[in-house]
């Protein structure tokens, strides 16, 4: 059995039920709906009228160049930000009324890794397991370390790890509470080929476990073949969506060229 075939790959296996938490009932849902969402920071418009749907058992990719609004979109879905207008629904729930219950069902791997460098990998994982109300944090941390392939380095401080190793610990931190919705911001950053392949397997395992996965990246080669749906963003606007996208790089080039031409025309018209 490879480390990526661990039981943690199947977070919503009916036989296992929901993870044990001491935080009370957590929200469960099988669909994320972003409905005409805009977000402004002062006078700057970071996102404008974005709508899409992400389903359980599928990976949705947010694709676009730097500054397209991918990270802002993830922060909105993660409930860290509130939309200026529009709605984000988790099944039938809104973020406002179910804050803590929703956060218990969301796992986020940010561009920054959310790890304490002075603590060991095990201490980091046990700390976050405790925050998520996992009753046996020690076992959960041990299992997460095994899944990350770092069981023998678990007691080393995170500051002594390479970027790729930190990324693997951070991914397991984000998944330690077996979230229904997994949000990943540039998850391939700093990974070598083996780690990238392992992450791909891990994501496929989560998909098989019916998790809703939203992945923001500008690394099209690595996202190739992984996505069930792609949402293309540019300058905070949604410019294209595609189901089961193939030949991502060619599609991306085509979409962005058309967007450039259109914006050129609109500027000329304006």
């Amino acid at each position: 059995m490879s480390p990526f075939d661990s039981p943690q790959d199947k977070p919503f296996d009916a036989a296992r039920g929901k993870p044990s938490t001491a935080l009370g009932a957590r929200a469960d849902f099988d669909q994320l709906t972003v409905d005409d969402v805009s977000r402004h920071f002062g006078r700057r418009r970071a996102l404008s009228h974005i709508s899409f749907r992400a389903d359980g058992g599928a990976i949705l990719g947010l694709l676009g160049p730097n500054g397209a609004g991918k990270s802002t979109m993830l922060a909105l879905v993660a409930t860290l930000l509130r939309p200026t207008s529009g709605r984000i629904r988790y099944g039938e729930r809104d973020a406002g009324a179910h804050g803590a219950a929703l956060r218990a069902a969301i796992g986020v791997l940010g561009h920054d890794l959310f790890l304490y460098p002075e603590l060991s990998a095990r201490e980091n994982l046990e700390f976050f397991a405790g925050l998520y109300g996992i009753s046996d944090g020690r076992t959960a941390a041990a299992r997460a370390l095994e899944t990350a392939g770092l069981a023998d380095r678990g007691d080393d401080p995170v500051s002594s790890f390479s970027r790729g190793m930190r990324q693997r610990v951070a991914l397991e931190r984000a998944l330690i509470h077996q979230p229904r919705l997994v949000l990943l911001d540039e998850p391939f950053t700093g990974l070598d080929d083996a780690s990238t392949a392992a992450l791909g397997l891990r994501l496929n395992g989560l998909r098989a476990g019916a998790a809703i996965i939203v992945l923001a990246t500008h690394d099209l080669d690595l996202a190739e073949g992984l996505l069930d749906r792609a949402v293309f963003l540019r300058d905070g606007r949604m410019i294209h969506t595609a189901d089961r996208p193939g030949a991502l790089r060619a599609m991306y080039r085509d979409v962005m060229t058309r967007a450039n031409v259109a914006s050129g025309f609109s500027r000329t018209d304006g």
Partner: protein
């Protein structure tokens, strides 16, 4: 569960600090330097100004506290771990309380060094009533840190947070500092006026209750965006 989250955050901060000792060393070095500078300036021919020790002690605590507050949250900002704390389903007031207790513990450790140093350099009988002094320092430190922890968390994304923190913190905590200085001054009198001391202590407890309650109430909405 609330208490468990408080304990987790406090234990995490303690472990991180024990590993690095960064904040403890800088805070202590700064506080001791502050006391020494005042001692060189104010103690003339071996005679310290009457009642000066109380003021010097609280100035050192306030300055060291500001430094500790800034550094504690700077640590959470560097790896964006405050975001991770806010993303967890744990009660956010519990996260606040854990951070507050960590700051109070750090300042208490600094005060354990500062009190004998001030008493020695300013020939003040600070240690004549250790229980009263401990109560004054604890209530004063909690009041100061309660506001400071809230502001430091709020300012974590502000570009000029190092400037803004003292600008916002000192005007609001002036009543706590004044009450702390006055109460400590009472301890330095030849005759201990217990009634007056109780008045200042009651005032400090009132400030603590108000500040901690307001901070617990406002931490969640303030940290949402």
């Amino acid at each position: 569960m609330f208490a468990h989250i408080v304990w987790l955050v406090l234990r995490k901060d303690f472990t991180v600090e024990v590993r690095s000792l960064e904040i403890a060393y800088t805070t202590l070095f700064f506080a001791i330097s502050c006391v020494l500078v005042f001692a060189f300036a104010l103690v003339q021919e071996g005679r310290a100004p009457v009642g000066g020790a109380a003021g010097i002690l609280w100035i050192a605590v306030a300055f060291a506290g500001t430094l500790a507050l800034g550094r504690t949250f700077e640590r959470e900002r560097q790896a964006e771990t405050l975001r991770a704390l806010l993303l967890a389903p744990a009660a956010r007031p519990a996260v606040y309380l854990g951070k507050l207790l960590g700051i109070v513990a750090l300042l208490t450790a600094a005060e354990i060094v500062l009190v004998p140093l001030v008493a020695l350099l300013f020939q003040a009988s600070l240690l004549a009533h250790p229980v009263w002094l401990a109560l004054i320092l604890l209530t004063g430190t909690v009041g100061f840190a309660a506001v400071g922890t809230l502001f430091a968390a709020m300012l974590i994304r502000a570009r000029s947070r190092d400037v803004l923190l003292p600008v916002l913190l000192y005007p609001i905590t002036v009543p706590v500092i004044i009450a702390g200085v006055r109460a400590t001054g009472v301890l330095l009198e030849p005759e201990l006026d217990v009634g007056l001391l109780q008045v200042w202590l009651a005032l400090l407890v009132c400030f603590d209750v108000v500040f901690v309650t307001l901070a617990l109430w406002t931490f969640e909405p303030l940290m949402t965006e």
